[in-house]
Symmetry: C2
Subunit: 389 residues, 2 copies
């Protein structure tokens, strides 16, 4: 097991109607001037935003608003948010929405205390030391940003998608009401579950040995998502299924599954190029890239993939031919993805084989490698994309 | 799933030689005048205390010391600690040791900011609002106090064992170096693992339905402890086994296994009476009480016990007679306890059947009930003790 630090200080407020406590918690965490940050009109139409505002008003907390976050959140709105924060002396950002609203809020929070361009952080030119307090009211179970330190922003100048994070960007509190996710369409629900599974799997396929506790916790989350997602799809108002998925999504990405070992993240990186080029949903892109990556790297550690097959997918171990068990696990992943309506090949996603050179080039790997489980060269990346066709 | 709050803000610093960073982390969490609190001479003899002091000196942090914490930590030393804190204007307590040192430190921390008697909190007469910062350097994997909000203290006046806790008592940081646990004798190692398992099981046997994620995470911890404990016993210096156990012990009790459902805790309560009367190790007492409790309440929810048997102990499900599977799980728990050197009956513990009336009377249940999975009357408690004979 590697040495590690684990820090997940977010106060999680989970359950029915808990968004009505937003004001109470903003006060508890010393917020006095709040920017409410959100995406589309759905949080307005549903009345959620009104309930949140009423809760802030009840505590006499000043607030202003900034909506308009889009999926794969853009730098433009971040600049606007930073300007508002500086002008209005905002000390607290309350994100209402999914991962995009939260990631955008984190970027505003870190940019608001910096005199330069917030993009410096995302480009790796500068390290931040602090940020405004961020809190979240989550409406989509997927990204895990409600409990993570990270944030991904796309710069409109060149559509570069870059990540930045730090402990000071972890939400001070996150309100998770599963009821708010019941209105999610089936496709988005399935994308969310795929994203959660990917967050676990990126950490599960590792070269670090003897991290049984982290393995088992990871498998626990995967087993839960596999069991609960079909229930949420069959009955969107199944509160219990939605609740299990919502908490699983947080634990999948607050690094519970990562402690003590190296993580990979190359499937995420390959997906970023896909969604950059085609603007497809992140979860759908992951559903396509993961099986291709798994097939390509499987031989690097057959027994690891066999464990995945047996413990997560309930495959019977083939002791004579472990590689058959390993492959069966990957096939079961694909079958599960298909069963929840996810694509597993380029064509189902609308991606094209002839664009592979563009995808590889945009990643810009050059002579460097990508990933940790297997260090992938540009040539490897191309072959994995080809397996996904 | 029940509504819940989850808050585990402790910064965990895990791995080899991390105790040398104690000074750095005290500084990071704004400690300036530190009370180092510890138990027996073993932390002195091993050189651990010297390394910790060197680390504080390197950061120019003032410190004073208070040793002498005993298992089932006593009120007397807490009073002494509170007096030192007030006199020396201590703002930070660094506990070095196992659950006893940490629990004692938490009691001092909450008492130091109170003008009255700290026992008021433990007797339920008064609610605290704050406490001095507490941090820990853990040397025994067992109690989980390094990541929990609670503390158990025994008052010398009547030997009353009482618990108190609050979020303000959670350690600000905890250093977990598995190497420090390699010198633990086999019996204490096994007691620690039993305690961890009990922390999970008290939360696992619940009437709350559909908490799959919490079930799975709980099972993950149990499976890890079952796999790693025999390795640590066979080879005390097995770092990987010690590391898995150390992290499992934290996750077992920071409420990861409790969220979204009711917990029971009656086996702990019955054990408290046992260890109060005979001064036996907490883990050993739990190993005796849990199977008796399980056999007594099993019929309340056969399928829950069957799930425990199948998922945790690898029993094959008997679909015609689930009660046989349920019972098999309990037997497997007993067999495992025996295999790691734990007692499973009164006689092995040195407890006597004729003392049962005393145990029941000391619990002082009267007309109230104990537990949540099954609400136990005094009569039930007596019968469970009898099953443990």
């Amino acid at each position: 097991m590697n040495n590690f630090n684990f820090y997940s200080p977010t106060y999680f407020v989970f359950g029915k109607e808990r968004e009505n406590e937003a004001g109470k918690f903003v006060k508890r965490f010393a917020g006095t001037r709040v920017l409410i940050h959100f995406g589309s009109g759905s949080v307005q139409k549903s009345g959620l935003l009104d309930r949140v505002k009423a809760s802030l008003l009840a505590e006499n907390i000043y607030f202003t608003e900034l909506g308009g976050v889009v999926p794969n959140p853009r730098s433009g709105l971040v600049y606007t948010g930073i300007e508002i924060c500086k002008r209005e002396k905002i000390d607290f950002i309350l994100a209402v929405g999914g991962g995009s609203a939260i990631d955008s809020a984190k970027a505003i929070a870190v940019g608001a205390l910096y005199d330069g361009d917030f993009w410096d952080f995302y480009e790796g030119k500068h390290q931040a030391k602090n940020a405004l307090a961020v809190a979240t009211i989550l409406t989509i179970s997927a990204a895990g940003s409600e409990g993570s330190s990270g944030s991904v922003i796309t710069h409109e100048n060149g559509m570069l998608k870059r990540a930045y994070g730090g402990d000071f960007m972890r939400p001070v509190f996150s309100i998770l009401n599963p009821e708010l996710t019941c209105s999610l369409p089936a496709y988005q629900t399935a994308c969310g579950s795929t994203d959660m599974m990917a967050h676990v799997m990126e950490r599960y396929f590792t070269n670090t040995k003897d991290v049984e506790i982290t393995d088992r916790l990871s498998e626990a989350i995967l087993l839960t998502v596999i069991k609960e997602t079909p229930k949420a799809l069959a009955n969107p108002n199944d509160y219990e299924a939605r609740a299990n998925l919502m908490w699983a999504g947080m634990v999948a990405h607050n690094d519970t599954c990562g402690v003590g070992r190296d993580s990979d993240w190359s499937s995420h990186q390959m997906e970023h190029e896909l969604s950059g080029l085609y603007d497809v949903a992140h979860g759908a892109g992951l559903a396509v890239m993961f099986p291709a990556w798994m097939k390509y790297v499987m031989n690097h550690d057959i027994m690891r993939f066999a464990q995945f097959a047996v413990r997560v997918w309930g495959c019977e171990m083939n002791f004579q031919h472990p590689e058959k068990t390993a492959l069966q696990g990957i096939e079961r992943y694909e079958q599960f993805m298909t069963s929840i309506g996810m694509p597993i090949r380029f064509s189902q996603l609308g991606a094209k084989a002839e664009d592979i050179p563009i995808l590889v080039k945009t990643m810009g790997l050059g002579n460097r490698t990508q990933g940790s489980f297997v260090k992938l060269t540009e040539g490897d990346i191309r072959k994995i994309y080809e397996l996904a066709v």
